[in-house]
């Protein structure tokens, strides 16, 4: 995979994400997750090791652009990379249903990680003897997952047309493909 093209993709997607996130109704933070779509694109096309590293690096970059605790997005996108790259030999990369299902799955993974982080480490505000725990709201996360999944056929479809620029290496044969070809 050409890493320069990868970083250009990451730069553009992160810039769009930070510019658009405040304007998608009905909630703040309910914007589609363009960075997740970029991670899915990398995971679905690149060889496994490059895909995992690429997804993780996208998470690190997104972590640098958010108030969120460091480590949340790398963990989430790393898991997404493992799931999507593992399903690589089994899916049709160009099909919109593949894009939608991968985006929905990835969005749910990210949502779970964010919710767990908010649940386990809520913001605690104390005033005298009174304590209030504040957890981030769930509504924006759900909307973000749905928006991401709905936009995925369009965004991933457009990105698929630029596959040549990334020069993805042909995938390794896995045992399943080998069995199928010998059958």
């Amino acid at each position: 995979m050409r890493w320069l093209t990868y970083f250009i993709l990451a730069y553009v997607m992160l810039g769009i994400q930070s510019g658009v996130s405040a304007y998608v109704p009905p909630y703040n933070g309910a914007a589609p997750n363009f960075v997740l779509l970029a991670a899915i694109f990398i995971a679905i096309n690149a060889p496994r090791d490059a895909a995992l590293l690429g997804c993780f690096a996208l998470g690190v970059l997104q972590d640098l652009l958010t108030q969120q605790t460091l480590g949340v997005y790398p963990l989430a996108y790393g898991i997404v990379g493992v799931l999507v790259s593992g399903a690589q030999p089994l899916v049709h990369r160009e099909h919109p249903v593949t894009h939608f299902s991968m985006a929905l799955t990835g969005g749910i993974v990210v949502m779970i990680v964010l919710m767990l982080n908010g649940f386990l480490h809520p913001a605690v505000v104390q005033s005298g003897d009174l304590i209030v725990k504040v957890r981030p709201p769930i509504g924006p996360l759900i909307y973000s997952t749905l928006y991401t999944a709905l936009l995925s056929p369009i965004v991933l479809g457009l990105l698929q047309r630029t596959r040549r620029a990334f020069a993805f290496a042909p995938g390794r044969r896995n045992r399943l493909n080998g069995l199928v070809s010998r059958a």
């Binding site: 810039g15 510019g19 405040a22 703040n28 969120q68 963990l75």
Partner: protein, 299 residues
């Protein structure tokens, strides 16, 4: 560029590789994932100060994207402008102009009194217009995750902890300032706490609601909540929707005391704490969609 070592072929088959190189990558990736897991769940207080500078690097893409999104939002999704002094029954232009004149006269009167007091007590020389202590700064981006923060343009001598406001209310505090940019944690970010008191503005009168100042906390989604007051106290003080919430916190600059924080949108009982009130507060505008703010960076 390839991450793993070049394949070592066995029996001349280029697709096979040794277990050695593949295991090395697995170890590295597993280590990175464990590190992320630790940062996320075990040591969540790690913050990166250089983040503010890194965010500014994405400005060439985020600023145009933000402008396009802002235009689309204004065209298709913006709501009507609220008349804050009378949200349920918006007043006519003539009434508003008359009120403006009254306010200008009152402001001139208060300013003169303040000047006299300042001359009497030199220690309070910081009192006065907050605007003269502020620098206007453009907003270039918003938080990319589910938190509430905005990114400001750099090069304005902005430091950590500085107060950020607009003419219509408090915005937040700088949480990571640098040469290239500065991030502002908004008052609506979950866990952002500020002490406020309650006032009422209506029919040309501005009066204090007889209720002790209380902690107001950001709860995300552009909202705040006051959850530490007894329902009885709230009812006795006749606190109601559309009352103003103003800053009354000694950890903020003295010149900002009384600056508007938001407006009460609902009052109800807390489900998780019987006897306590759950008061929801909304800022005067969506803070994530601001184009420009004022940073209090002068003394």
């Amino acid at each position: 560029m390839r991450f793993s070592a070049p394949y070592v072929t066995q029996n001349g088959n280029p697709d096979q590789q040794t277990r050695m190189s593949y295991l090395r990558f697995q170890h590295v990736f597993a280590f990175l994932m464990v590190l992320s897991l630790l940062c996320t769940f075990i040591a969540p207080k790690i913050h990166s100060r250089p983040q503010a500078n890194v965010q500014a690097i994405f400005a060439p893409v985020s600023v145009p994207a933000r402008r396009i999104a802002s235009w689309a939002h204004a065209r298709w999704a913006s709501s009507e402008v609220k008349d804050d002094a009378s949200p349920e029954h918006p007043r006519s232009l003539a009434e508003i102009e008359r009120e403006n004149l009254d306010l200008r006269v009152a402001l001139a009167n208060v300013t003169a009194q303040l000047q006299n007091l300042k001359e009497l007590n030199k220690d309070r020389s910081q009192l006065g217009s907050a605007r003269t202590l502020c620098t206007p700064v453009s907003v270039i981006a918003a938080d990319t995750g589910n938190r509430e923060s905005i990114m400001l343009q750099g090069g304005q001598n902005i430091r950590n902890g500085m107060e950020v406001l607009t003419t219509s209310g408090v915005v937040g505090r700088v949480d990571g300032g640098g040469l290239l940019g500065a991030r502002v944690r908004l008052i609506t970010d979950p866990g952002f706490a500020v002490v406020c008191s309650f006032n009422r503005y209506g029919n040309g009168k501005y009066e204090h609601v007889p209720l002790a100042a209380s902690t107001v906390v950001g709860i995300g989604n552009g909202m705040m909540a006051a959850r530490m007051m007894h329902m009885k106290d709230v009812s006795d003080a006749h606190l109601q929707e559309n009352d103003w919430v103003v800053l009354d916190d000694r950890e903020w600059s003295e010149v900002l005391q009384g600056w508007r924080v938001g407006r009460i949108t609902s009052i109800g009982p807390r489900r998780d704490a019987p006897g306590f009130a759950d008061i929801r507060i909304e800022p005067s505008s969506n803070l994530m969609q601001l184009h420009e703010v004022m940073v209090m960076n002068k003394k």
